[in-house]
Symmetry: C2
Subunit: 265 residues, 2 copies
């Protein structure tokens, strides 16, 4: 039996679930997390607005210092409900921790960004094979030569995830993902990886390489790892993110991420 | 000043406009035409149902023998309102004529199919270059190795049209066209033409070759010429079609061809 998001969050909170969240609470949105002190929040909010494909902002703390985000989930506590967090200081990864209760600050603002898990589920539902899922791997991610639109010190290259598909499936996937702008939306590139500055598709910068079959086309989506690079460049005093693959499970159905108008940029 | 569809149809009817209809009545749907005797109509109707990408049926004669189709246009006369018709007998092209008043039969049924002009307009509106338009050519069309779903003697290969684009524009085009299922909808293939059995992209079977720039991806759409091949194979006693490029201009706005749900097949 499927468990409700709140049940899973409670287990995570109490250390009963410690693994990455892929496959948990199917049908519900999972989110990337970025927490920053208030003094950096306006810049990061603007960075999300200007770079909506890699940083599709779904929610923020209602008030500075809030660790509940009722809009995303009942009784949700952003300090405890993610299995693994990353602590950055001056843009450097210091350590990974299973909760941030002790390091929470009253000036923190949490940002929750859409995640590819939502669109992968929509693609699977249409019978499209997702290679990283069928091979039991983390999706391959690559640093590109595409500059994000900078906001003060927040600047960096866009990171993309890649899924190989038959041309027919790639067309279906583009049509489907165009309807999900809040979870990265339509791909940003198809075909030759060299156009993105990616010279070796078998050596991803993050995640695992997946096999590519004869006749398949490479499909590239903007990736939620992008803001982590910008934060490494901006070097804020402190920043907390989720650990890749260990996402926040929300009460929001994936279907709510679908828009009639679509996303064609 | 733009002329209303009815004004243009009247000029065509009276021999005052004799050229192909690309660029006329922007914003309004233009249609492919197939006219067959009643005894073949059920088969052709089923062929359209089973092959909706190349044969997106928009309207038929309300009653057998009707040459008006009020649903498509006020005072429309299907015998006179297209600039150039093709007459087939036993599947062979006999001649082209500027009206079919003298050869109209009481047992005729007219089928009107969606046309790529509608989606080309939607793509241009989003700033996407259409190579055949910018080079002032007819779109290149190719006979593929894809079998249509046959209905009795109606059988044949799918014909596709091709438009080269940057990968980014191809993604936008797929997203847009997915929303226009009644005018061929999403492309059926991207990338390697050999997968469709097309060995020389510079030698289209119909229309004109267009230039392909470095780094562009080839995007292939199902094409309204497809039913003409099936009819050549089925060899009905008599069949009338429009001449490629000389379409029926309707009163229906292109915007009505857009669906919220889209077309993902």
């Amino acid at each position: 039996m499927q468990q409700a998001p709140i049940t899973i969050r409670n287990k995570i909170r109490h250390g009963e679930l410690t693994r990455y969240t892929s496959g948990f609470a199917p049908g519900f949105v999972q989110c990337n997390l970025v927490i920053l002190p208030k003094k950096y929040a306006d810049d990061f909010s603007k960075f999300c607005q200007l770079n909506p494909k890699p940083c599709p902002l779904i929610a923020t703390s209602e008030n500075t210092g809030d660790f509940t985000i009722e809009k995303l989930g009942h009784d949700l506590d952003i300090r405890t409900d993610i299995p693994l967090y990353r602590l950055y200081e001056q843009g450097e990864l210091i350590k990974e921790v299973t909760d941030i209760v002790d390091i929470w600050q009253d000036d923190f603002v949490a940002f929750l960004l859409g995640c590819s898990f939502s669109f992968e589920e929509a693609l699977l539902a249409e019978g499209i094979e997702i290679r990283n899922i069928s091979e039991g791997k983390n999706v391959p991610m690559y640093k590109t030569n595409i500059d994000c639109t900078p906001v003060n010190q927040l600047e960096g290259k866009m990171v993309v995830s890649m899924r190989p598909m038959s041309p027919a499936d790639a067309i279906k996937a583009i049509g489907i993902c165009s309807q999900y702008p809040k979870v990265h939306g339509a791909p940003i590139h198809i075909g030759d990886p060299a156009k993105l500055g990616v010279l070796d598709i078998d050596s991803p910068d993050f995640g695992d390489a997946v096999s590519v079959k004869e006749g398949e086309v490479l499909v590239f989506w903007a990736c939620g790892v992008t803001p982590q690079l910008a934060i490494q460049n901006a070097k804020p005093d402190i920043c907390i993110t989720h650990s890749p693959g260990y996402m926040l499970i929300t009460d929001i159905p994936n279907s709510q991420m679908k828009t009639a108008t679509g996303d064609l940029c």
